[in-house]
């Protein structure tokens, strides 16, 4: 069975992170010269300066609020309160519900997105008539903003004049309209459906791109060995695009977690706070004027995602990636 590394070598490709560096690379790596350092610094400088000034500086300056009594209702006393804001977050009776919702939101969105995206990619790999047109039509949800998707699906799921209820009734699947966004049981399902609609595209694009880099010879060899479809899928396709899969899932989890726009546009976290995830909860806290607690939530989000990223990469045994992304 070919491992990803051997298949890549077989296909005459370099491994992206330099697992099989060409001879030239090794030489340059050992040799440290001021000139080389300058080249690196000069090429990285623009990116580093932009991100440092407009992203990292404001974030670091802003995170001090998390440790202060920073309430907009009274800013005359913004005393240092240590970890009090964090304790308040955990003590909030809604916190448990918010966490559960967040998990449902992320897992419920990502798993179907991955499965459908994968299927689409497999089917789109082979040319058929109008494939280009089809691709263009199904890829567009990625270009729609989260806020707009919220609006779009709020209109669709409108219980009185929405198309969803009307179509379900016409199909005879339901007798009376379902108050989709007004009932806690269905509201979370509705926002997850909207998110699936949006997110499948990214998986489909990424996986399709990765699939096209699998050399045909591998499949021919597998066919000669008499491998069936399932075996080919699990022994060639998936191992070969494993890195893409792992990193796409990781990115999507991070992005989905940090995607309050859609929920805000659709339900505003309601009814009765039943569709809040951590990031919408943070926005709600901001609206109450408690910037201290909202910042504490923000820092918890970063910490949580960071831990997740590390464990995820370790668990998927993408050592190479762990090395590449977070250092060994």
């Amino acid at each position: 069975m070919p491992t990803p590394a051997t298949t890549e070598r077989a296909a005459g490709r370099r491994s992206p992170t330099g697992a099989a560096p060409p001879p030239g690379g090794t030489r340059r790596k050992r040799e440290f010269t001021t000139g080389r350092g300058l080249v690196i610094a000069a090429y990285l400088a623009p990116a580093a300066i932009f991100v440092a000034i407009f992203t990292y500086y404001p974030v670091i300056a802003g995170s001090q609020m998390a440790f202060r009594n920073w309430k907009l209702t009274d800013l005359t006393d913004t005393a240092w309160v240590g970890l009090q804001n964090f304790r308040d977050v955990f003590a909030d009776p809604a916190w448990g519900r918010v966490l559960v919702n967040t998990v449902v939101w992320v897992v419920g969105s990502i798993v179907p997105q991955l499965v459908i995206g994968f299927a689409l990619a497999l089917w789109l790999r082979r040319k058929f008539r109008f494939r280009g047109l089809y691709q263009a039509l199904i890829f567009f949800p990625w270009a729609v903003s989260g806020f707009l998707i919220g609006i779009l699906f709020r209109w669709l799921f409108n219980s009185e004049f929405g198309a969803v209820n009307d179509l379900l009734q016409k199909a005879g699947l339901i007798d009376t309209p379902i108050p989709w966004l007004a009932s806690p049981d269905t509201a979370l399902t509705a926002v997850v459906i909207a998110n699936i609609w949006y997110g499948v595209t990214f998986f489909a694009i990424m996986i399709l791109a990765a699939l096209q880099s699998i050399p045909d010879e591998l499949y021919e060899a597998a066919a000669l060995d008499g491998a069936g479809k399932a075996r080919t899928l699990f022994q060639i396709t998936i191992p070969f695009i494993r890195t893409t899969l792992v990193l796409t899932v990781l990115l999507r989890v991070i992005w989905t977690f940090n995607f309050p726009d859609l929920i805000f546009g659709m339900t505003g976290g309601g009814p009765n706070n039943q569709t809040h995830i951590v990031t919408t909860w943070m926005i709600q806290t901001t609206q109450q004027g408690d910037y201290g607690r909202a910042s504490a939530l923000g820092l918890l989000i970063v910490a949580g995602l960071l831990l997740f990223a590390i464990f995820f990469l370790l668990a998927t045994r993408e050592r190479r990636e762990v090395k590449g992304v977070i250092g060994s």
Partner: protein
């Protein structure tokens, strides 16, 4: 997969593809139909899936009530400039991160990943103060700068993947021929990577085009508003004007949709070169 397709397999495939197409396109169809209904018909019962009377009233109202044309132009210019600049800057950083080994490299990659985890809210206040000090509040150029910073991390990681997959021999040959490293990057690698660069640009463009919170915070005057801010304004405290809102939504989606349609082949091709491969 590449093996032979059975008839049953083909049927399953096309049924699935067809269903998915319906699911994907229906919301857009529904909003488009809503937008061309006469304002009084939007809430007519029973629901009309095809408007009884066509009306462009909602669109006319949009351009009368608000300077939608200005917002479109702002969004177009700001997104194009920011996306282009971020792509160029990320090519430099992505190139170095793909070609060199150095001590701070993994820390830098980690820093890029962390930017994706930060909720925008934490940074909003200090960013506003910073932009005030720089005299860049309510300034389109200022928003471009901020958007460039927003796009760089993901774009860098993406382009790094492409560079890693291009044989080094290519630019080494060029350098032996007397080109500088910079020259080699732009004269030799660029043409090879064109689809990847197009893909990176489109991802950046879409991100900027849809950005709301930074735009609301940093822009004041009507002449500087972008589309998402204007769209948000339609959910005014008055009422949900579904007719105008649908028209605004269609106008917002259209440019990016056209861009995606034209570029979908480029995107896939470009990414095939090895996007997000680390």
């Amino acid at each position: 997969m590449i093996g032979k397709e059975t008839a049953a397999g083909r049927t399953t495939k096309f049924v699935f593809l067809g269903l998915w197409l319906l699911f994907t396109v229906f919301p857009l169809y529904w909003i488009a139909v809503t937008s061309i209904k006469a304002p009084g018909d939007v809430f007519a019962w029973p629901i009309a899936y095809w408007p009884e009377t066509f009306s462009l009233e909602n669109y006319r109202g949009l351009f009368d009530k608000a300077d939608f044309g200005i917002y479109l132009a702002n969004s177009l210019v700001i997104s194009t400039l920011a996306a282009a600049a971020a792509t160029v800057i990320s090519m430099l950083s992505g190139y170095v991160l793909a070609r060199f080994e150095f001590r701070t490299k993994s820390a830098l990659l980690m820093a890029a990943l962390v930017t994706q985890m930060i909720p925008a809210f934490i940074a909003l206040g200090p960013l506003y103060l910073l932009m005030t000090d720089l005299n860049l509040v309510d300034n389109r150029f200022g928003l471009v700068l901020v958007y460039i910073a927003v796009c760089i991390p993901f774009c860098t990681v993406m382009l790094r993947g492409f560079f890693a997959n291009i044989p080094e021999a290519l630019e080494e040959a060029a350098m032996i021929d007397g080109l500088s490293r910079f020259g080699a990057l732009f004269r030799v690698l660029l043409p090879v990577m064109r689809p990847g660069i197009v893909a990176a640009f489109i991802f950046n463009f879409v991100n900027c085009w849809n950005e709301l919170f930074l735009s609301v915070t940093l822009m004041n005057s009507d002449a500087n508003k972008t589309i998402p801010t204007a769209l948000n304004g339609f959910i005014s405290s008055f009422n949900i004007d579904w007719g105008s809102m649908s028209a605004a939504a269609v106008l917002t989606i259209l440019p990016t949709m056209v861009l995606f349609a034209f570029a979908s082949r480029h995107i896939v091709q470009g990414l095939t070169a090895g996007a997000v491969k680390g």
